[in-house]
Symmetry: C2
Subunit: 237 residues, 2 copies
């Protein structure tokens, strides 16, 4: 029997939530944020921005799910992250003075807050708290990306899918329970592009997981049945 805490800790090394906590801002800062943000909505499949574009500002996802992906020169697509409620993003290329390295599109209907680049930089210059939060957050993300690079470089599809499902279970979580099954609502093509395999191979591996009692499906949604065995299969620890 694997310790729940150990599983949780291991999994935290492979995905991140936004490290920005609203509670850590002062009233002045909150007022500034409120004053300088506007609301954006996106329909399912709508594009937020494209890789190579100029990073115009910072976004906070309040509702819905986004996919962050890169399109390669052979037209293959890799989904790198799924953002869910609460994620703050778009500031990284501003800080490093680069263009957007990724494209972002809505998986489902989304609501976001938007803050223009210059206002974000103004806030950052005045807020030590924000600066420190970003440093901590970016550093953790470095760890996560390092770990995932390792997984993508070496692992077999079964292992990658097992890990992907554990990550997605967190992203699609609606309740607060530990290792309760979320409804993972992602079409097969997106899931294949997230795992980094072909659609056909993904379907076959999902069937294998079903046979082994690791997951079950209802319509297109996926539910994890056996966290422990899925965790073992992912071979991250």
């Amino acid at each position: 029997m694997i310790n729940i805490d150990r599983m949780k800790q291991a999994l935290n090394r492979f995905h991140f939530y936004s490290g920005i906590k609203i509670g850590l801002f002062s009233n002045d800062e909150l007022e500034f944020i409120d004053k300088h943000t506007s609301t954006i909505t996106l329909e399912r499949k709508a594009l937020l921005f494209k890789q190579g574009s100029y990073p115009g500002g910072v976004y906070i996802l309040n509702k819905g799910k986004l996919k962050v992906y890169q399109l390669n020169y052979d037209n293959s697509l890799q989904i790198l992250f799924i953002y869910s409620q609460g994620e703050v993003f778009g500031y990284r290329p501003i800080l490093s003075n680069e263009y957007q390295p990724v494209s972002i599109a809505a998986i489902e209907y989304c609501e976001l807050l938007y803050m223009e680049r210059s206002h974000f930089l103004e806030l950052l210059s005045k807020s030590v708290s924000l600066s420190n939060q970003l440093l901590a957050s970016l550093s953790h993300e470095f760890t996560v990306l390092t770990n995932r690079m390792n997984v993508f470089a070496q692992r077999k599809i079964k292992e990658k899918l097992a890990l992907a499902l554990l990550i997605l279970n967190e992203k699609f979580r609606t309740s607060n329970g530990e290792f309760t099954a979320s409804e993972i609502k992602l079409n097969r093509t997106d899931l294949a592009n997230f795992v980094g395999t072909s659609l056909e191979n993904l379907v076959r591996t999902l069937n294998y997981f079903k046979e082994k009692g690791l997951i079950k499906t209802k319509g297109k949604s996926i539910f994890i049945e056996n966290f422990e065995n899925l965790f073992i299969l992912s071979a991250i620890e």
Copy 2:
């Protein structure tokens, strides 16, 4: 004929140098650094620290080459980065309050500067310049890691090796020229673990590259012969 600048820009999205520039520190800060650092030397193959260990401080590599790697539970090894002269590292897990996610060992004889954790944090709390440099640096590294995740997730060995050699050519650079051939001195096992393939497959692919006139070898060292075709083969743009 591919534009040199385009190649250079594309390549910069796949590796990073330390974003910390000594020139941006004030005299006070430089004095503080000088006062609170000590020198460490490492023999070839010596371990600097192990993944899971407590991050005791920050390092600056002054001489030599380091390999940054993770050891997996099936005993496979993935080399994630090669650090060369000038690289500053070790601060990330301090900032995110984590244990070391990686192990680091010397590829060849190395000399480093070491600053204890508490002094680094003291310096950071006083230096806006350092804080801003770290934010910019970490943000760029996020881009690099994202791009590399994509490569590892999808690409064939030929493409991954082509890219790896272009990156290593920069890491092993001694002169300042653009796209001049460095002597890439890395044993085959390390190279295989960096590319993310088996030793045998690596050797075969190197031979293929030799036949095609992309590289040549002298002893164990590798020299790039045809940057343009290697770049095209890497399919990063």
